[in-house]
Amino acid sequence: MQPFEYTSPTSASEVIELLGAGETRALAGGTDLLTLMKSEVVTPQQLVNLKHTDLPRGIMLDGDTLTIGALTPLSEIESSALAQQHAPALIEAIAVAATPQLRNMATLGGNLLQRPRCWYFRSPAFHCWLKGGSECQARDGENQHHAIFDRSPCVAVHPSDPVTALVALDAEIVVRGTSGERNVPIAEFFALPTDERRTENILGDAELIVAVRVPPHGMRGTYLKAMDRKVWAFALVSVAAMLRLDAGRIAGARVVLGGVAPVPWRSAAAEQVLIGQQPDAGLFERAAQAALVDAQPLKLNGYKVPLAQALIRQALAALTD
């Protein structure tokens, strides 16, 4: 780890000012940032502690909208009755993320901003495309954990479980910068990295996540995750699915895949198959097929296609039984 300066301001606006100075990173739980710094993949000159600032921590209802402060630890959300009532898919996603110890430290804001677990990205030995290099070593390398929707020069996958659920919940991200706050739909917040912006989201250097807002949805939701072992592993593939039934037909549907692309992957095609139909195994199979029809697996991750289809079928079945 390289030396750095550490400051601990008391207001978010001070943090934003410091972030604007460059080579500065905000520190919340530190469960991701510190590991990146230890391997010197990230080498900030200054860390700014968020935990003593006025950034919100906690879970509340704002009208019908569930609002979760950026500094809220995942474990606090996991045990919140409000969150359980308004966003059960999020609770399920958090419960299978990392370990209880990590969930005690990790904040929701930090979880949204965590970087990919791609071993080429994480190793200081590779100057991969996502780190500013010219080549993605995973594309022709050991890509068993990588993207099957190949739409970016980077084939890493987004590692977050909560994010996949929050995309299904159509959440909004409250972002604060030098010119004040704005609400960004989560589907816009996460964006495939580009040559100009080699990250998985559109947050600016001098911006902070303040809160996450989950609007009312009136749907049942669930989150399923396939791992290499029973717990404490990132998703090979996950699915967040939500359904609303009206008079025996599907009136609303959301299907979002995790572990398949650099950003959470919402499948409009699967949702279209479902809308207006009576739920049954055949329908779920068609939805699962539709969700993966565009998949272009790499050499070692073809298994993710049937795995994703299976999780979609199982999630939809669980929501309708």
């Binding site: 071993w119 022709d140 390398g141 050991e142 396939a226 072992r229 298994y303 049937p306 795995l307 999780l311």
Partner: protein, 781 residues
Amino acid sequence: MPIQHVEQQRGPDGEISYTVAETPEPQPWAVDADFAIVGHPHPRVEGADKVTGRACYTYDVRLPGQLYAAVLRSPHPHARIQRLDTSRAEALPGVRAVISSATHPDISWYQEGKLFDVTLRFIGDEVAVVAADTEEIARDALKLIEVEYEVLPFAGSVEAALAPGAPRIHPDGNIAGEPKKEERGDVAAALREADVIVEATYTTQTALHNSLEPHGTTASWENNQLTLWSSTQAIWQVREDVAEKLKLPAHHVRVIKQFMGGGFGSKQIAWKQDVFAALLSKAAGRPVQLMLDREGENLAAGNRNGTQQHLKIGAKRDGTLTAIEVQIELETGAYQTGGEASDVIGIYSSLYRCSNVRAEQKGVYTNLGPTVAFRAPGFVEGAFGLESAMDELARKLDMDPVALRLKNYAEEDQKEGKPYTRPEALRLCYERVTEAFGWPSGNQRATTNSTSSKKRGIGFAAHDWIGGKGSPPGYAWIKVNADGSVDVITGTQDIGTGSRIGLTQIAAEALCLPLEKVVLRLGDTANGPYSPPSAGSATQPTIGPAIYAAAEDVKRQLFAAASPMLEEEPDKLELCAAGVCVKGHPEEPISIEEIAGRIAPHMIQGQGARGANTEEKTIHTVGAQCVEVEVDIETGEITVLRVAAAHDCGRIINPITVDSQIIGGITQGIGFALTEERIVDRRRAFVLNANLEEYKVPTVADIPPITNARLNLPDLEANPTGAKGVGEPPLIPTAPAIANAVFDAIGVRLYTLPLSRAQVLAALNQQSTRTATEGAGDATL
């Protein structure tokens, strides 16, 4: 099994001479002996110290003025150092010593290399080492070392190393050492005569030990005396190796290891860090600690060799094996460490009765880290091939897998042509494990799989193992203190299995003392006699009998001392719970405390040795496991639901520590079967998961209920205590038992470890494609 000891003789002319005399070993404990302490569950002596953080591991050693070291490792899989300049690192404030090929070019290491070689043969090979006031300064200094490398062509896999025109990793080519062979009978003819042949290639992965405590050493070289606190399972081996490398006399080197966070075979030899730390300590004039980080540990301190096993088994219609033929390539990595002990062909030539066997294994160098023993080295890999093939054979013959194994039961050691000491042990393991598991008998094997996507299956696998018999010699001393308490002095070490309690129980039982009157010393070459490495499941069966023999020596001396006190000849005396008494008169004892107190400050000192193993018979260990799994055919997920195990370890000295080894071995076996695999970008010879995030050891959630069907079969021909080792065996059959259960569940055979979701889904997909094609074929008929 005589014990040697030195005896003084006075000749007729009064001249004194010494000979190595032989005395009989103590009487073996009877098979059905009624013990007060042996065989009873006693918790580990050091358990509380470990769980409260008081136990001092190598990393916890803090000496006055201690420095910390860090290693600069090769970033290239194959390269030659053209220029090496450490001057900027040496100039960094806080840096106290830097060593490299510039300072120590001539110390040989491994079977082919040097401590610091100018040719580097894997990513992680050692270039230079820095000692500094703090770990951080040492690591910063590494960045200041300037190295120019001439990058050489490399071989990142066995295939690449064997390809025509492959880069030579060592001057003699890429075959590591002589192939290991076992041949008997006429395999070609026997295969022709077989009614059924199973032919397949089985692949096992390179597995990483990932001991909780990483490799490391703290060295203090003061005046002539070098002391090493090394994380080792072989203090004497480290002393011998380090003394040889540094050209020191043995008595100038002392190795200490009190508490151990596991080694699993990887720490049975001296590693470079032992000598690095010593040299740095000499150069800096201060103690130096060199702990490997997890990455260094996984790259450069040995792995379990990956294998490819090309196997043919032939059998008659009734299940009688006619031939076993296996050709094995194993990935040796860049160097032969001398501590591999990988006997992959071993299980092929011994587990089943078969007159025609041809088995050969050859090691292949690659530009990857070296390999070293890992808990039952070779047998774990071989068992996956052999026991998967036996299951396949049983299916082909429509036989119960256990019945097939009984049909080919090996009553004797076919390699040596000797009987086993307990030829019935494996049969008893089969009986006990199938009973404990509820293995269906005969043809009641139809599984009741529902229409759900989750299919259940059961699997069986057996094993034998060359270890567990003890590695004589080994010695023990016992001092009887004036208050009647005793110190048992050994030079063994506790690799983490809880040897302290098992050995203390032997001493307490033999001396009729309560456990709290006995303390066991170990882990210091300066304070005890020679002991073999804690490898090959050898500690209990080697040092236990030595302690028993020392206790016999103590008893003789106690009886001699008590004789005038009890006014009876020594041979009329015996031990009882209250001390020494006249045989048959426990109501009038004299306590050991009183005897010791009366003769004080004279002291009774017993010595004992572990005699040689019998040459008439083969001592080995055996076992079997049954597994039930659930496989989700949609997601490829394998869940192990339960495991039952039966392993013969002779007399059970402590049921808790035996159960712990069974649970630990099966846990490691589940990891080997399902999730653990070193992942290498072969085109770069780069290990991508030399860490605990991506190298997935099982979590507690991956481990099902485990039943240990204890046998307790005292093996009195093995040694007088009747106990054999059980550290390694429980890992051996777990992976094939799981693979066989997966086949039972889904009807698809998997030939490559670990059994990943990707493999399960691909195999199921192939099967359904095949079924669909066959179905289409039927329709056209």
